[in-house]
Symmetry: C2
Subunit: 307 residues, 2 copies
């Protein structure tokens, strides 16, 4: 297997986030020869551990007699990462390969780059990784004019026009959901994987009409469990709906009347799509994995002459 | 010391919450002979461990030849507590000693009661412990007509009129603050004990005017740390202000135009007092410890004939 990959390998695309490392090995047509992944995300690695963590996944795939380009995006470029990659300030194009930071790797078989993040000064905001998904999306949809929403731990709403990232705003929705469902007094009330869409949509609407009451609505989930024996499914769907509704209320200036593209994990995109549809907005969904790969490939095309 | 207490001990007042056990030993005039406390809160005890945890604190203080009454309030009366004490439904008086649940203790030197909690059906809500603080407050302020706010992990806003608890609403503000400052991506941005009141008040006002953006404001604390090198003090004061402001926006129907009494830890009451003052509302503060003790003493007076 490794030998078959080694003969055709031209480029390594790396999505290196806080918690995970995801690698795609590509041939000269950009087709995927193999995918590898591990849980050795940025958060658990010291600076010297990044190269070994990468080589653990791809070392046996690398041809010995040439230099294989490796293009990375994500938190690997943060101050706590492999090497600090700059932030480009909005308004800007989704950062191209020419702006990537070259990393000094010890293994002579690889030439490694990390793509920049994007920042906004006033209101301050940052992204690392999402800009590469946007680059991939724009490579496939160059005429897009509207808003790109990237739901996740820190959901981004991004205004895109004339191939530029114009402005953006990050909501801590996913992290709040994780903290509340795993660490808070609500954790025993929401212990289920089941989901009730109509409960979810009612909660979205409820939070959108009274966002100021969110901290009371959250405790209400616990209280309804104690007082009215509310089901775990009802509780979990409400929690999700309250937090997504709160975000939709806050991001309204972004999405109202705009073309909306969602880029994320399919299940999460579907939740946002449902919430937006209830507000009369149709959003199209795109896979985060596909868009990241498209963005890394576009960046590779921009630097491959320089290797 | 224990001997001096033992000779005069008439009543044991117990405030037993999720995280802590606080005991006051009182003489026949209701004066405090001694206070004891431990971190053996409800959350870490199985049913059989409650009596030993209490006796560890007061066993050597108990006279051998008589039965000493012990009155408890708080999460000790929850389903996971020593014994489940009922909930009384609003509208109701702050529960009196007659409604307390008698606990079967093994040690014959104590007669133990747990005071009820209070519940509200639709919108569902619950309290355990705060009702005893309210009872203590009303024992000292029987004519009070207005709203009692009890800031804490789960802050309660309680309408009180004609010595009755009319309705109430709980906000998860304190727990959100703890989760965000200790477990979230913000934790490194708010690692300080310092506090800037003007930053706090700006954040209160900001959250009150745009509560729907709270999840974005929260991430903004992290972004401002990265982009603008915002100080830890600024970040921590903002976090506090955003969450208190969100709560004040949601609880406005409670406090607007009302007499307000705050019952809580003095430092926390001061924060709420400042936030309310900026909205033109003057609130008086009372110590939670004092009000709890007053409520437990009042309940003891109601049952002591029955021992």
């Amino acid at each position: 297997m490794s030998e078959a990959v080694r003969d055709k390998l031209v480029f390594v695309a790396v999505d290196w986030g806080t918690s995970n490392l995801r690698v795609s090995l590509l041939d000269e047509d950009g087709a995927i020869l193999a995918k590898r992944q591990s849980d050795r995300g940025m958060a658990q690695l010291s600076r010297e551990e990044f190269e070994p963590a990468l080589l653990d996944l791809i070392g046996s795939d690398l041809p010995a007699n040439k230099v294989t380009p490796v293009m990375c995006c994500g938190m690997v470029g943060s101050r706590q990462g492999w090497a600090e990659a700059r932030y480009v300030s909005v308004p800007c194009n989704a950062p191209s390969g020419e702006l990537a930071t070259r990393v000094q790797s010890k293994d002579a078989r690889i030439a490694t780059w990390i793509l920049p993040g994007v920042q906004q000064v006033g209101p301050d905001d940052v992204m690392r990784g999402e800009e590469t998904q946007i680059a991939g999306f724009l490579a496939q949809n160059p005429k897009f004019d509207g808003v790109v929403c990237l739901p996740g731990t820190h959901t981004k709403w991004v205004r895109v026009s004339a191939e530029e990232i114009v402005s953006f705003q990050t909501f801590m929705t996913g992290e709040l959901f994780a903290l509340l469902s795993k660490e808070s007094v609500l954790r025993h009330s929401v212990e289920t994987e089941d989901f009730d869409q109509s409960v979810f949509l009612n909660a979205v609407s409820d939070a959108m009409s009274r966002p100021q009451s969110i901290a009371a609505k959250l405790f209400g989930i616990r209280a309804a469990h104690l007082v009215s024996d509310q089901s775990l499914t009802h509780a979990k769907s409400s929690l999700s709906g309250y937090l997504v509704g709160l975000e939709l209320a806050g991001s309204r200036p972004y999405w109202l009347g705009m073309d909306i593209a969602l880029i994320g994990a399919p299940a999460l995109c579907e939740i946002y799509q449902d919430g937006l549809k209830a507000q009369g907005c149709l959003a199209k969904s795109y896979s985060a994995e596909d868009m990241t790969l498209a963005g890394l490939k576009a960046a590779f095309e921009q630097v491959k002459e320089t290797i």
